[in-house]
Symmetry: C3
């Protein structure tokens, strides 16, 4: 049975994600649908791209991921479908798929991109403001029901890509930044395992506070202690044991993180 | 496989909607269940009626919609079941189904209403405060499992109806009001396509601000611009491009909207 | 088809519960998954224990309940599996299962406890911070797919138990406390049916306010009235009709409730 996931900034009040499930089940009655998140900040494409790349790989081969953060809905921005390795992705062409696409490229996975322009696979009436319901959900459902991706649209090779901030080399380490803050107030940076793997000892600076060394897990320090660690996605992160590092440090996405490596 | 939807004001903390799923799966093991919303304002029947009428039609024929906003739980208010065209509805008789019933009447769809008074289709023990779990979920599940609606209760013809505010004719247009505010801060009014279809040019006044003309989609204006448009349900709505019109205008449900038609 | 429930403090932003569904469906493709709550207060084990004991019994026999509130993730705290009567429970050994275990003991239900130490039933790579994804979800999925609980780990008999505050006898009744506050602001106490069943008349004191007598349901009093009643779980609770008792009385978990019985 096909698995479909939903990731949007639609919120939980209005029933917009529920409507997408209705549309899907009309076309692909047995589809199993999982909500990833509907609480992305409105219009925040980068946040959506990060949640998508961190969650999608855990789903079974053949899973179809619908992602909708769509400030350009109703304009010329294209609806697209992506086949990246073992997974499919459906949504607006605005950079939301940048990170899953980059990872597929890094892994030399098979890649196929289409402009979803075959309106017979959409709802009969298309609003200008809710393509999640009218285009993306039905397209994903037809894919789940066995229509090949290449029947849903025509090939493209120029998807929009987000500019993701990259860490910079410094004299004794890296200068990165906070790119994501989770529900617990953990700070995810744009530094990851690769940047630190040869490092024996590091000192981290953020908002004028220094953290010495990495821990493996929260339990190595007392509650209320600020720690740096590699998180469950292999990213370099800063946390407050049993608390919120974001609140404690008053950090926002985009704030700088300096890592000095004493190797 | 039967599809069941859940719409409540139960919130997401306590597991009340989850419990309803357990009750359903005990009676109708394979039912596919979609959450519409559990974030309705506590006791806000009008908000529930609006979300229900906007979401229900997108589900497959035969879908059973459970809706529970129930300030009168445990009193003499009746539990009811409705068969409206291709869909079923289950919940308290307090006006929550006014809009789906009106639409079925407008469409001359087949209509059947019952008072759910056959307690053999309820849980064995009925609390005075959680009929969602004890009456509505089991009744819907028995319906999903093949029991006819008419076995679940006795016919009625006098369901409670909400007084929904209606727009009024003015010398040069309509005076309506905001009846719903969504997650994005879009303002839905009680005016819809029918009120405006012959209008070439309109001027909208809300909270002392004037908006000239309608747009088809947000992308026609710059971010931060106030626009009026027909939303994804065909209702006349006011939005702020890439922002919240509700916050910008400090609007609440019930605030007036004046439309001058220059046709 | 196996039913699995999820109860966590992971929140709804980051997609952590969604990831667990992906992991489950890779191992047990047809599993039906219900979210109980992901909005528990971070690290609040007592809150999790209460929601779990109030929701689990409504699910079908054989249901597997995954519960994760896990301040000790990555430390020596054990991952455990419990077979309690007709249900299974999977999660950290930190007291989260105290109340479901106590109830199974009270009911003399069959009880089996194991330390989940068979890593072949985990994901291949285990992070130090997300055992919900790496250990609990795959263990539950293998159970759903037919692996016996006793194959997932070795028997234990010393699970961690929370100290749940117990009510105390007073000269003319009971002194209890608020142990849970729900979405509506209803106050659940640690007093239940058993403490009050012989009582004809009671007077309740909380935060200097007195309530005379119990009602059966909210509808017996006018909106805005403070009432005491037995809630849908048989617990003694205090509510404000059509409002929030928690806001009205400015109550927090742990605040005292005195009941004088005039029998």
């Amino acid at each position: 049975m096909a698995v479909i996931t939903l990731l949007t900034d639609f919120g939980l009040l209005d029933g917009y994600p529920g409507v997408m499930k209705g549309v899907i089940w009309k076309i692909a009655p047995g589809a199993q649908i999982a909500d990833i998140s509907h609480s992305l900040k409105p219009q925040n494409i980068l946040q959506g791209a990060i949640v998508l790349v961190q969650t999608a790989p855990y789903f079974p081969p053949g899973t179809i991921h619908i992602a909708v953060v769509d400030p350009g809905v109703g304009t010329q921005r294209r609806p697209i479908g992506l086949h990246l390795g073992e997974h499919y992705f459906i949504g607006p062409d605005n950079g939301l798929f940048t990170l899953v696409l980059e990872r597929a490229e890094d892994q030399s996975a098979p890649i196929q991109l289409v402009h979803l322009n075959q309106s017979k696979y959409w709802l009969p009436e298309i609003s200008h403001v809710f393509h999640g319901r009218d285009i993306f959900a039905p397209a994903a459902a037809h894919l789940a029901a066995g229509i090949p991706l290449t029947d849903l649209g025509t090939p493209i090779s120029d998807p929009i890509r987000l500019e993701i901030p990259k860490p910079m080399r410094t004299s004794n380490g890296w200068s990165g930044e906070v790119i994501y803050i989770d529900h617990f107030g953990n700070l995810t940076t744009n530094l990851h395992t690769g940047h630190l793997e040869s490092a024996k000892e590091v000192t981290i600076s953020i908002k004028g506070v220094k953290i010495n060394g990495l821990v493996s897990t929260f339990g190595e320090r007392l509650p209320g202690t600020l720690v740096a660690l590699l998180d469950s996605s292999g990213s370099f992160a800063i946390s407050l044991v049993n608390g919120s590092a974001a609140q404690y440090l008053k950090v926002r996405v985009g704030d700088k993180v300096e890592v000095s490596i004493n190797s």
